[in-house]
Subunit: 325 residues, 2 copies
DNA sequence: TTGTATGCGTTATCAG
DNA sequence: CTGATAACGCATACAA
């Protein structure tokens, strides 16, 4: 690959001049500008971004840590994040933590070594302190770490409320909420809070099932759902904390011969693309995935530029009624 | 962030020495080694990978260009690719081309500027020449560009044969194949070749439907499938070139009141995670996504290391029978 | 309008 | 065993 020196030699000028035309800085005569352009063309020259990064102390790269891009929600999120990052001249270094504590830590260190300009965190297995000493612009999804670290989150309480109310209004008498591990201190726990409050308020029998099964372990999920439906044969409504989980519930319910939505109603969360594709189409709480992504990029870039931003960012959710309720 | 200089100063040695302990090169006394480690610890020092990359002319980054990570197939692929890359000390710079020719070209240039060590291409909208002058290790999925550029592909012909035969053996009398744009010169076109050959051999009426609708435009897909089933009410078997497409067909068939698999049998391609999750569970041709990913990383790294590799890499496919046939 | 010299953080060569 | 110093490719202050 040719360097700025080669261009300079061919164009018969010094590297300074080449650098100038490259960055449009200071005065340069039209004739030399042309010569330089010509030389760059001839050599098929492209500036070395590594060298630029070193000098400028800015890599134009954003690190993205998520559980796994194979999960539909994070796949969509990542797609949009990369899209908006690119629009703004940034690139994405992708890290799938698989919710492995050790790996997440290693990724953080790696990203720091690689001098990324900021980190978007969609995976949080580490202790609060680990994020505090990061000394780098950061945005998290769905987790409050400290007043100084901005987060983006859907309005989880409202989502939980909407889902629960909806099931009850549809006539459910005994409902369940299947969610992640509530100990993880995620903002999504608010969904369960709302679930309990609303069910109590309406005097409806309710059960909460926590799980930290990896979402791709469908057999385990199926077992869990089987168990739940066996032990509580009279459950007639389930609120799932993700669409993927809801798909599992649909599958098991069908296997058990329960008709949806007559005998059991199911409502998901996220509104990933699949939820309108499956049969029966899933009723769900829609998170504004694109807007969350756009905002994540915006917040990171503003931090990089030293602009002030709001730390608490709640985005609205919407109930999408389809065929499972 | 502290640099090697700071460490040197604190440890009371020169940068040379620090660099030595950092890279375990040459002799160093145990005592200075300790001092240096101590200083690194105190400063929480991490070597600057940008500077290293510049000097070594090696970034340890692999560029990945795909249509979009939001597509389940590419989501899974990307997950595995990142996994294996990381295992081998490489990082992934993610690019979603959205099959946009201009964007794909820009991404390629960007990756070259960023001095990635190699590119894995899962998106090919450019002309053959564009890839030939790349002057960088490269691996493509599902496209033969030239004898010098290695590709990875499932055994598409066999996949098409398996699917077609299976439908016919199950009693289908009139079958359709919905596939991508055959003009794109992808190896997946072999699936259609096999489809036609097998159908003719068995003397079965068959139709090929090409489309280059973006896979996320479900309404358009649905229209297409509606049209197909309206014009050919007697179709009783459909081979879809992706599971996502098959999911669309399931949805439309259900809407039209056709029972699956009694009145119409459906078979997909890929075996993404969703295919076993949907109801009814999808019969499909499984591509070995993890192995394809692992191999892609292996082939790129071997090229980077100057090792010789095979350019034509076909991986076996498997028919997975579930509920739609 | 253009050139010289210096530094970004690191590694390697060559002395000592 | 350790230290100066040059080089990686680029951009800027300062001269000319």
């Amino acid at each position: 690959m040719s360097t700025i020196k080669d261009v300079a030699k061919i164009a018969g000028v010094t590297v300074t001049t080449v650098s100038r035309v490259l960055n449009n800085r200071g005065y340069i005569s039209e004739s030399t500008r042309k010569k330089v352009y010509q030389a760059m063309e001839d050599l098929n020259y492209q500036p070395n971004e590594i060298a630029r990064s070193l000098y400028r102390k800015k890599s134009n790269i954003i690190g993205l840590i998520i559980p796994t891009v194979a999960h539909p929600f994070f796949g969509e999120l990542t797609n949009y994040i990369e899209y908006y990052a690119y629009e703004n001249g940034y690139k994405i270094l992708l890290c799938n933590s698989h919710l492995d504590k050790v790996k997440e830590k290693e990724y953080v260190d790696m990203l720091k070594s690689h001098k990324v300009d900021g980190i978007i965190m969609g995976s949080h297995t580490l202790e609060v302190e680990a994020y505090l000493n990061l000394d780098l612009p950061i945005v998290t999804f769905d987790r409050f770490i400290s007043e100084s670290i901005p987060f983006i989150s859907s309005d989880n309480y409202e989502g939980g409320r909407l889902a629960t109310d909806f099931l009850i209004n549809k006539g459910c008498k005994k409902i369940a909420h299947i969610c992640g591990n509530l100990k993880l201190n995620l903002l999504s726990n608010k969904r369960n809070e709302a679930f309990i409050v609303e069910a109590n308020k309406r005097n409806i029998e309710h059960i909460t099932v926590q799980t930290d099964i990896d979402v791709f372990e469908s057999e385990q999920y199926e077992k869990l759902v089987h168990k739940l439906l066996r032990e509580h044969d009279d459950i007639d409504g389930i609120f799932c904390s993700s669409d993927i989980l809801a798909a599992n519930v649909i599958k098991v319910s069908t296997q058990l011969g329960k008709s949806i939505p007559e005998e059991i109603k199911i409502i998901g969360y996220d509104d990933v693309w699949e939820s309108s594709m499956i049969v029966p189409q899933l009723t769900t709480i829609q998170q504004p995935i694109e807007e969350m992504s756009r905002l994540a990029v915006e917040l990171i870039i503003k931090q990089i530029n030293g602009e002030s931003i709001s730390t608490k960012n709640f985005l609205p959710v919407t109930l999408i009624e389809r065929q499972t309720t």
